[in-house]
């Protein structure tokens, strides 16, 4: 069964983000890793890279396909998962945990969520048609 944790925000391109204060952690959803199959390679933006919500910022390759990775938020990459290059299979085994991809420092805001993100319920609706 595909899981969609309640506390996360989502994109229509199947990324998730966990926003705490001015930091966002980014990964791809359980639904996405299921659809891709075994992930064998990821390219993620290096620390210091400016990313823009809705713009491609990397790639995820599986046995059968390659897809673009989209940033869910605007900001600057502060950290990448140090395990992920050597062990991209973490994206399959633990997409919301050990399979996280990168962290972004969000621009100063007044505590509002970045626009355009989907709630867990909205994302579930989106993927229901794909199932």
């Amino acid at each position: 069964m595909t899981t969609v944790p309640e506390e996360l925000q989502y994109t229509a391109e199947h990324e998730w983000t966990a926003i705490e204060g001015s930091a966002a952690t980014v990964g791809i959803t359980d639904h996405a890793q299921n659809a891709l199959g075994d992930v064998v390679y990821v390219s993620i933006p290096a620390p210091g890279t400016k990313v823009t919500a809705g713009e491609p910022c990397g790639e995820v390759e599986s046995t059968k396909s390659v897809s673009d990775l989209y940033s869910p938020v605007d900001g600057e990459v502060t950290e990448v998962n140090p395990e992920i290059e050597e062990n991209p299979g973490l994206i399959n085994s633990d997409p919301y945990g050990a399979g996280w991809l990168f962290k972004v420092a969000l621009p100063a805001s007044d505590g509002e969520l970045p626009p355009g993100l989907l709630s867990a319920a909205e994302y579930e609706d989106l993927i229901r048609d794909d199932a």
Binding site: G37, D38, V40, Y41, E59, E61, T63, K64, V66, N92
Partner: protein, 389 residues
């Protein structure tokens, strides 16, 4: 995207079983087929180290029977089925008059006057139509050949892997020590009458079971139960593709197609120019056999983790010299592998320059980035050959 006008994909006698197993299904050549059940890498590794179970019921089965069957097939195909002993099988091809490959096939001679031609799902209709048209067109009296599409009459299950014989032996009446590679026998497996063939598309020892559709589910269950202790798991088309790629086996639509002759694909040995009588494509293929090949099908191994995929350009000193036909991460080698057509000159130069196994001037253009690659001899993977157990 699927065209809304397309008919819904056909279900095999085992599609319900795959759904119960939670398989990811995919539309392939008009059929709904299991792409994978869990991790395709685990399925691949199971076939290399233990065994895997495949539903191949989408493959086409065409019977060619009658006193003129052998002559009709000698005329229709590039091989010489008339030279097969009953019970034996051969890999062969059907070509257009211009020598282009219409499909690659396995032909089983079941009896003196009875052949079973196994075609790729996407090409079954073309092969059937061509066989029908060519039977009787040879002027050799092969009008006495009946061509019948039996695809719906057969479920095809493949049991592949080093443990295949050990798993099968307790549930069949066949003496597997006597079942040769590329041979087929009528047999009983788990109480089901079927045709048991020692063939496959994985580079491993294994069997293909041509069974009645109504026997497919019980057979699948019986094989699953018989193999559980040995690590047998169901395997989907994703694993089948990486297994055949490691084994250097061509796939129609990738390495083979109507604009490719058997010689281009490095498979000139399947063309029996010396067989008696004419055959469709003979003149073009005889000419092609004499010519210097312009391109060569080579094996490549990527030097980075990025995967060369179908259609990506192959570069030599930064200049396009060919095209990748198939590429995938190789679970066995732990690096990306690919087959590609490259200019014969470049292949020769690369070999002479000792490029085989060493990074140098070869690369694959992976979405705009030249990723270094090395030439590898095909096949990438060769199983240790044992006498059939």
């Amino acid at each position: 995207m699927t065209d809304p006008q397309d008919p819904p994909p056909r279900r095999t006698p085992l599609t319900g079983v795959h759904e119960r197993l939670g398989a990811t299904l995919t539309s392939f050549a008009g059929w709904q087929m299991p792409l994978r059940y869990g991790s395709e890498t685990a399925e691949h590794n199971a076939v290399r180290t233990a065994a895997g179970l495949f539903d191949l019921s989408h493959m086409g089965e065409i019977a060619v029977t009658g006193s003129g069957a052998a002559a009709a097939l000698d005329y229709a195909l590039v091989g010489q089925p008339s030279a097969l002993a009953p019970g034996r099988a051969r890999y062969t091809m059907i070509c257009a008059p211009d020598g282009g490959i219409l499909d690659d096939l396995i032909v089983y001679r079941l009896a003196e006057d009875e052949f079973l031609v196994v075609a790729n799902a996407a090409n079954t209709e073309v092969v059937f139509r061509e066989l029908e048209a060519r039977a009787g067109a040879d002027g050799l009296g092969s009008r006495h050949a009946q061509v019948t599409d039996l695809t719906d009459d057969y479920a095809l299950i493949a049991l592949q892997g080093p443990s295949a014989a050990r798993i099968l032996a307790p549930i069949t009446d066949a003496d597997l020590t006597a079942v040769k590679y590329y041979a087929s026998y009528p047999a009983t497996v788990a109480g089901c009458r079927l045709l048991l063939a020692r063939t496959g598309y994985t580079g491993e020892d294994g069997f293909e079971l041509f069974a009645r559709p109504q026997d497919a589910s019980p057979l699948w269950e019986a094989l699953t139960a018989a193999g559980a202790a040995d690590g047998l798991i169901p395997a989907g088309l994703a694993a089948r593709d990486t297994l055949r790629l490691e084994a250097g086996m061509p796939l129609y639509g990738n390495e083979l197609g109507p604009d490719v002759t058997p010689y281009d694909a490095g498979l000139g040995r399947v063309v029996k120019l010396g067989k008696p009588g004419g055959f469709v494509g003979r003149a073009a293929l005889a000419k092609r056999a004499e010519a210097e090949p312009e391109c060569e099908l080579v094996g490549l191994a990527g030097q980075t983790r990025r995967i060369p995929r179908h259609g990506y350009p192959v570069l030599w000193d930064g200049v396009a010299t060919g095209t990748v036909t198939s590429g995938a991460p190789s679970p066995t080698l732990g690096r990306p592998i690919a087959m590609a057509y490259v200019e014969a000159d470049v292949a020769r130069q690369a070999r002479q320059a000792g490029e085989e196994g060493k990074p140098g001037r070869l690369a694959v253009d992976i979405r705009g980035s030249a990723e270094p690659a090395v030439l590898m001899p095909l096949p990438f993977y060769h199983r240790l050959r044992h006498r059939p157990a």
